[in-house]
Assembly symmetry: C2
């Protein structure tokens, strides 16, 4: 049987599991009248935002498709692959979010029965997302294979799919990220800091916008993000494998022919899907609502998936008669990914010293807490960098540069279950908010808090893992680009002014990108703050609870602002490699990607872990340390959390997409840029 057919079947199996999970979730009780009312408001806001976002993205996709189709070196095939990739990415985000917005209320209802039931409902909603991402990814790539695999330009068509997926992802991640963090920080600053009312209090006008944000940012945005990570890592390996079969500078013995170049990454990914499905079914807890038990349940799932994936990868390598070195490369990627995730957990969880130190510094005020947290983020770059370097060296040793690429696949092969544990978090978070707004008894809120807190831990692990994989994937794409564009080994060296200039310019871009996204969140939350303040001032009886705030106003502000402000960072990411490539030539572009990948990696890790540790330092104080909620220490910690929010949920994760998107654009442009000297 054609191995791609096996992969296709595994992808379909993933979608079947997703449907089963979705059916289970939708069968659940929708909860009280109040819960249903809030759920309906969230659903309306989220769908309205996604509708407007996808309309803009539709225009963008059509425009780019026309440009790609018109360029003689690329043509309609690349254009079609691009559109297909964009649609698949949008679809993965849409389906995941559709289920999430229907599960928030159901989880709030389920958790009234038991914690276990709450976990089951919310985790299965996350599993829908996880399975959709990997299922659609594998199916999309398989379809491309069957349509185009006899085309002589096949190698340049496939990356088009990745560009489509990544383009949608960057806008979805940035737009959703701006929405969710502007609403969140706006609600927190007026509600928690100024008015002293609890989080998710119904009197806060921004509270519904905050819930909507969790869905459009942390679910739909993240879905598109993980989808592109997944397909880009597979595409990078395929391309490099195909290039290896005809390149003079690469080792041909590893990948004997074009078919193996395709089959191997697809089979490893397919094995990962089966492993993830098994892992998902292993996630179950007893009736005792213990935090440790919950975490163990999730860990059991992800750990089993990792071990199974390693086994499947070995089988794939064995049956495809590939070099055994490739298996070691996959294994080192898989292990490095797990360890990077654990290191993120160490630097952000209040079970460990770094976050406890940050919490301690809250005693001397917000400034010292900010400095400590930021330093922690910077320090946390050590394990991921060292692990990535070890992975690179080992993978190279066993399987040349092809090993680096396939190590990236190894890292991402358990994405199905990783994404499930990630996407479950915002559902639990929202369920907690709905419980708060519905005046349910505090012990119910405690249960959702336990679920939410678990979600924060898995989110930190997931982020670390996503960054590590992004670094390896971007590197593999860069390597493919240098091969595809025909850069001579002797040219790509530091004595060339174009390479140096490219590196400097590339290193600058992630910084500018972060500045733009941070400012976008800042500006939008400024508007939200003023709106919430206005409502407290002008609506009589709001603070006393006798009048209701106008939630729709904040939803409308966030929607418009996020849509408007996602454009500039997205377009800069897409245009920079094009501009650098045409202006300074392909050599400068290679330098540019090198600079962007390294700085982007450092900033992404720093932002994610600084943000995560501030968040958890605050949570630690809320457990009663240093005076607990309402103390000066807590106020200082809220400042840290607010600073960290856009860093960890808007700028940081978008950087992952950014470095891959720029690299894959370079790869697609390779045939156009080959031999082009640059305009300057």
């Amino acid at each position: 049987m054609n191995p791609i057919l096996i992969a296709l079947i595994c992808g379909v199996l993933g979608l079947v599991v997703a449907s089963f999970m979705a059916a289970y979730v939708l069968k659940q009780d929708q909860g009280s009248e109040k819960i249903r009312e809030i759920s309906a408001a969230i659903k309306e806001g989220a769908l309205a935002f996604l509708g407007r976002e996808y309309k803009i993205l539709g225009i963008f996709v059509i425009a780019v498709a026309i440009i790609l189709g018109v360029l003689p070196a690329l043509g309609w095939r690349v254009s079609m692959a691009f559109v297909f990739g964009a649609i698949c990415s949008g679809l993965a985000g849409y389906i995941g979010m559709s289920i999430a917005i229907r599960t928030n209320g159901r989880t709030a209802a389920a958790v009234q029965k038991s914690l276990n039931q709450g976990l089951r409902v919310s985790f299965r909603s996350g599993a829908v997302m996880g399975m959709c991402v990997v299922g659609i990814g594998i199916i999309g790539l398989s379809i491309l294979y069957f349509i185009f695999h006899s085309d002589p330009n096949f190698i340049f068509i496939i990356p088009g799919f990745g560009v489509g997926a990544s383009s949608v992802a960057i806008f979805a991640r940035v737009g959703g990220g701006i929405y969710t963090k502007a609403a969140d920080t706006g609600a927190d600053i007026v509600g928690k800091v100024e008015k002293g009312i609890p989080e998710d209090d119904p009197r806060n006008a921004a509270v519904i916008a905050d819930f909507v944000g969790d869905n459009v940012g942390d679910v739909a945005g993240m879905g598109a993000d993980l989808f592109e990570s997944y397909v880009d890592s597979i595409i990078a390996t395929m391309t490099l494998g195909m290039i290896a079969t005809f390149s003079i500078s690469l080792d041909k013995s590893l990948v004997p022919d074009m078919a193996t170049a395709w089959f191997l990454p697809m089979m490893v990914a397919a094995g990962g899907i089966i492993a993830s499905i098994i892992g998902i079914f292993l996630v179950r807890v007893g009736e005792k609502p213990e935090m440790g038990a919950l975490l163990n349940a999730l860990r059991r799932g992800t750990f089993s998936s990792s071990v199974l994936t390693a086994g499947f990868a070995f089988l794939a390598v064995y049956f495809l008669k590939a070099d055994i070195g490739i298996f070691w490369a996959i294994l080192v990627g898989l292990i490095a990914g797990v360890l990077i995730g654990e290191s993120a957990n160490y630097f952000t969880s209040y079970a460990y010293k770094p976050t406890l130190n940050i919490a301690e510094s809250s005693q001397t005020g917000g400034a010292t807490l900010i400095t400590r947290g930021f330093a922690n983020g910077l320090m946390s770059t050590i394990p991921p960098i060292v692990l990535v370097v070890i992975a690179i060296m080992v993978a190279y040793h066993f399987a040349d540069i092809y090993g680096v690429a396939i190590a990236g696949i190894g890292m991402l092969s358990t994405l199905g279950i990783q994404d499930a544990t990630d996407a479950y978090g915002p559902v639990a978070d929202n369920a907690g908010g709905i419980v708060e707004m519905s005046d349910l008894p505090p012990e119910i809120r405690e249960r959702t808090d336990a679920l939410d807190s678990l979600g924060n831990t898995t989110a930190a692990t997931g982020k670390g893992f996503a960054i590590g994989a992004a670094g390896l994937t971007a590197l593999a794409l860069l390597l493919s680009y240098t091969q595809a564009v025909g850069i001579d080994v002797s040219q790509f060296n530091l004595l060339d002014p174009r390479v140096i200039s490219g590196i400097f310019l590339g290193a600058m871009l992630p910084a500018v990108f972060c500045a733009m996204t941070l400012n976008a969140v800042g500006k939008t939350s400024f508007s939200i703050i003023n709106e919430v303040r206005r409502q407290f001032r002008e609506i009589k009886g709001l603070m006393e609870g006798t009048a209701k705030p106008e939630y729709g106003k904040c939803v409308a502000i966030c929607t418009s602002a996020a849509i408007k402000q996602m454009l500039a960072p997205g377009l800069i990411t897409i245009l920079s490699p094009v501009i650098v490539g045409f202006l300074l030539g392909p050599l400068a572009l290679a330098g540019f990607l090198t600079g962007a990948i390294t700085t982007g990696f450092i900033l992404a890790v720093t932002f994610a872990n600084a943000g995560g540790s501030w968040d958890n330092a605050k949570k630690w104080i809320e457990t009663g340390a240093y005076g607990g909620k309402g103390s000066d220490a807590h106020k200082a910690a809220v400042i840290g959390d607010t600073v960290g929010d856009p860093m960890k949920d808007t700028s940081g994760p978008s950087l992952n997409i950014m470095i891959k998107l720029m690299s894959i654009i370079a790869l697609v442009l390779a045939p156009v840029l080959a031999g082009f000297p640059g305009l300057i």
Copy 2:
């Protein structure tokens, strides 16, 4: 006449001017009994710190000298050059600080006569430092030339001088930076934030430590820093020039022989000294105390120096019969340096939009202000990066990689006057503090505030300029290293796993270095805060002004902590290139330096400008905006300023030294590493 003799004479002339300025300053009235008492306390604290710091550095220098002397590939000559460089660097810092601590009080006295007299005294104190740095630098290098120029290993001896200078500089900058910012933020957090007393209030126990810190950090630390920038840029150009005369891959027509390789950079630098002396004498204002007039006076000096330097550089190129392309490279460096300085001013002065936007965001609290300022810092990387890239491309176009090195000298050639305008700032700042403590009338404090505010502007410009020059110098050193170690052009490419691994590891190091220095400041200021709080609690009558605080306790805490905590970041900087070089080989080390230079550059610019803009946003609010002093907006701005302090005055400037130090260590190790495969 031997051109080096001319350079030596210019250097001596610089020291003559320094003595003249010093004599003028020391002749001035020392002020009232109260002023003399405070000055004496500052002097005592500063000299005690420097004494302890130099003792540790002495041990370090002797240890390294022995190691260098024992290594067969290096030997006693390199060891001697190293010790000599270390002594020269320490001397420049010591002399500058000795004058500064004697001028603080004299400026406080002079400003009582007139603003103009205050500017004259404080600026001439800065000029002593400026002239000492360039004078000692040129004289030191000339002496080395006369002793060693006929030695066949001459090319490897000279960088030893740079390593000595840079090693002292990194410890002095980090140690001084920890001292000054821990004292400053500690004093501010308890005094301004908690107790609501003014800055520099005599009731604050940390106030003398704060003054001492200004001298040991902003004067002595900066002097050592600028000394190493200056000599490293000259050494980088010389080495590259000398390599060009025998390298096969470099263009020989630019630098025909070893002598020209030496003469040209020395002559350009010597011309810069003369230009700076003329510029310094052009700094004078009328009696009307206008901020604009003050700024214009300084600008007239620096601008005239730049124009004159360009003229002298042309003459040097002409008379040494070097390629005219070299002149264009020097010119583009000079212009890029000035523009980078101006861009720093734009991003940090409250005359412009970025800082005003940050001030505006104070209305929604500390968190939004932090985010806005940090985004501003990240955004401010655009002009320096773009200008450095343009300088690289133009310099390369006209004079190959030698052009890049000499563009760095062009950027730094006006260092004499730049350093004078920089070193005058802390003197004016301290004078203001002494005025505050001596109960002098508010109009006197207004005058010192005007001088201080001017100092902040010149400091921002100077920092931008220092970072730009550091980038170019480090790059030139890296290029020299690749040549000296004999890296084949075709090897140093991204397909090599060692290069990639080196880049990733190198990119990590500046982040870790920043984390360590930020934490060091955080920890020390934590101790200071607790001590100041304790004194307010335990010393009866302190708040009422009837009792005096124990200033010495805070001075002692800062001294011990700064000495202790400067060691780890300094040693890591020194050891990393050694470890990477021996463990992963010379190729990985080249990648390592590339990664460190780019990330270091980005972080240095971000930290300097974010810090500067928070500082000035606070100053803008203090002029009355958004409620002025004591308002909630002001409290938010104080948080921003406190976060920015260690970023802009400890971590940021130390990064400049760090990237150069690691590069020059690599250059010195080149003969040892050449042909070495790496242990792994």
